[in-house]
């Protein structure tokens, strides 16, 4: 039995018949327990779709997926959600606008049938660096970074071993991004978490992950270690292009066409 995530020959599509759009094509990927893998690609490359298929938010998929040795079907059990949780991209969209922090966390705890709600909420808030004075605030009373901390607390409430991160910092300012990235690496160390992180920012992924899978047009282009990435040792031209563009603007006369 393998711990962690195993994905083999995953295909995901949206729509039926003539409208069918193939979002992910034949992707195979492994995330061993305790490691941290980044999925990199541009918008529409299918990287977020993989997370959505894994969590059961998208049901039109084929292939083989397993988590901690358990093969996933079309439906997910409560036990699965106990093990795998997700943090979404936009902290302004991932919290219910009329639910206070307290409501969000206590509902999550109740759904996972956990007791001792009061104590747990306070300790969750402490864990994500928010403190109890934030407990009864509504989302509009929180900054983007604080909201993302609440979203992380919600994901941690069930004490999962695997955290799926869908561009957790792309909607935040750089200084706030640093705080959230530090929090994520601290949490990973404290709780021995496994991360599968989606991002378009190579530097962010390199900071948090050990290996990186590059995607383009729904396909996996290549997988490489962060050391290779930092040394700019990419095999595929697409990865090299991504690397080059992420280093900043280079003045040139060549203009690519559309």
């Amino acid at each position: 039995m393998t711990q962690g995530i195993v994905i083999e020959g995953l295909n995901v599509w949206f729509g039926e018949h003539a409208d069918r759009v193939q979002a992910v094509r034949d992707v195979s990927l492994q995330v061993a327990a305790g490691t941290s893998v980044g999925l990199v690609g541009e918008s529409g490359s299918g990287k977020s779709t993989i997370l959505r298929a894994l969590t059961g938010l998208v049901s039109s998929w084929s292939g083989h997926m397993e988590v901690d040795g358990e093969t996933l079907g079309k439906r997910r059990s409560l036990a699965f959600y106990n093990k795998v949780q997700m943090v979404f991209q936009d902290p302004y969209a991932s919290l219910h606008p009329r639910h206070s922090v307290d409501q969000v966390l206590s509902e999550t705890l109740a759904l996972h049938k956990l007791r001792d709600v009061d104590r747990r909420i306070v300790s969750l808030l402490d864990d994500v660096g928010l403190g109890r004075q934030f407990r009864f605030r509504y989302p509009h009373q929180l900054s983007g970074g604080q909201r993302q901390r609440v979203a992380i607390a919600r994901a941690l409430a069930a004490e999962p071993s695997i955290l799926l991160l869908d561009e957790p910092t792309s909607a935040l300012d750089v200084s706030v991004q640093a705080e959230i990235l530090n929090l994520l690496s601290d949490l990973r160390e404290q709780r021995q978490l496994t991360y599968l992180m989606v991002s378009h920012n190579l530097a962010v992924v390199a900071h948090l992950c050990e290996s990186i899978a590059v995607m383009q047009n729904g396909q996996l282009v290549e997988t490489l270690s962060v050391a290779d990435l930092r040394a700019m040792k990419a095999n595929e031209p697409y990865t090299q292009q991504l690397l080059k563009s992420s280093m900043g603007y280079v003045r040139s006369d060549e203009v690519a066409d559309g």
């Binding site: 938010l57 409560l78 991932s94 606008p97 639910h99 996972h112 605030r137």
Partner: protein, 302 residues
């Protein structure tokens, strides 16, 4: 600043009750800035008070006939708003009529939106066949002219205020179902719904706890704006003799009665007409204010 205000304005509330109270307080501050909406609310509060204290406020028994005092004009001693064709005091009838108006409004506001909310959110959230069946059913109701459908209901169930209310409620729900469905469609794909799904929440919980609170805002606005129409529909049914039965001081029925003498004794029909107008207007003003306050699309309560 008083300690209560301080408590309400606290940036870090210490209990659920405080957080909720603060949210309501801030909503009130926002609402207060809209003078016209405040006026609407004031009129409606007044209406409720009048209805409650009707026996003490009305100078006469609304049913007491006095054929010697028929069709007295406005400003007559003892009958400020005159009397009708049977010599009943119009002011007293108006005051008692407010109870009927509130009864109609309250009952319709209870039945129609809840039915609409339920059907709309279920259709929108579950989608597929359920959606198709429920929405075609809604379309059938929408396709009938409201008053005609209400007439058919009353004809089938018999005349009377309860049946009129039921008929209006049954014809009023489809627009609410449409609104609720449209809201649900835009909400159901949002990240916060996905997030609660990932906690293992079922459809029922998501609909009632997460989708309803967001739909209710736009429904409340729509209801208050529709209230005027509902009062008019009830008055219309009363006018046609299909709503409240004759001795009852329902405002629409009063107009119907006064119609016969409208040329010589205009006030008999006009006074209840003005009452309907004022209450309808109050509901509209309140509805506009609530829209500014509750509609998440127009900025909101932050």
């Amino acid at each position: 600043m008083s300690s209560l205000k301080l408590w309400l304005n606290s940036e870090s509330p210490e209990s659920r009750a405080q957080a909720r109270a603060a949210a309501i307080y801030h909503g009130w501050l926002e609402f207060k800035t809209n003078r016209l909406a405040l006026l609407g609310l004031l009129i409606l509060v007044l209406l409720v008070l009048i209805a409650i204290f009707a026996p003490w406020l009305s100078p006469h028994d609304p049913f007491e006939q006095s054929l010697g005092n028929r069709l007295l004009p406005l400003g007559t001693e003892g009958h400020v708003l005159g009397t009708d064709s049977l010599g009943r005091d119009i002011l007293s009838r108006l005051i008692y009529g407010s109870r009927i108006t509130l009864y109609i409004v309250g009952l319709v506001a209870l039945i129609a939106p809840i039915l609409g909310l339920f059907i709309g959110t279920v259709a929108g959230y579950i989608g597929g066949w359920t959606d198709t069946v429920l929405m075609r059913f809604t379309d059938i109701f929408l396709a009938f002219p409201r008053l005609v459908l209400a007439l058919a209901f009353v004809a089938a169930l018999g005349a009377g205020i309860e049946n009129a209310v039921l008929a209006i409620a049954l014809t009023a729900w489809p627009p609410y179902a449409r609104i609720a469905r449209a809201e649900t469609l835009s909400i159901r794909r949002s990240d916060y719904i996905s997030a609660v799904k990932l906690q293992g929440a079922g459809a029922l919980r998501i609909i009632t706890r997460h989708i309803w609170p967001l739909c209710i805002a736009s429904l409340v606005v729509r209801i208050t704006l529709d209230m005027a129409g509902i009062i008019l529909a009830a008055a219309g049914l009363g006018f046609l003799g299909l709503g409240a039965r004759p001795p009852s001081p329902e405002w629409g029925a009063m107009i119907a009665e006064g119609r016969r003498f409208i040329l010589d004794y205009w006030w008999v029909a006009t006074i209840p007409g003005i009452a309907i107008f004022i209450v309808s207007l109050a509901f509209n003003l309140l509805g506009d204010g609530l829209r500014d306050l509750l509609d998440p699309k127009s900025g909101g309560a932050s």
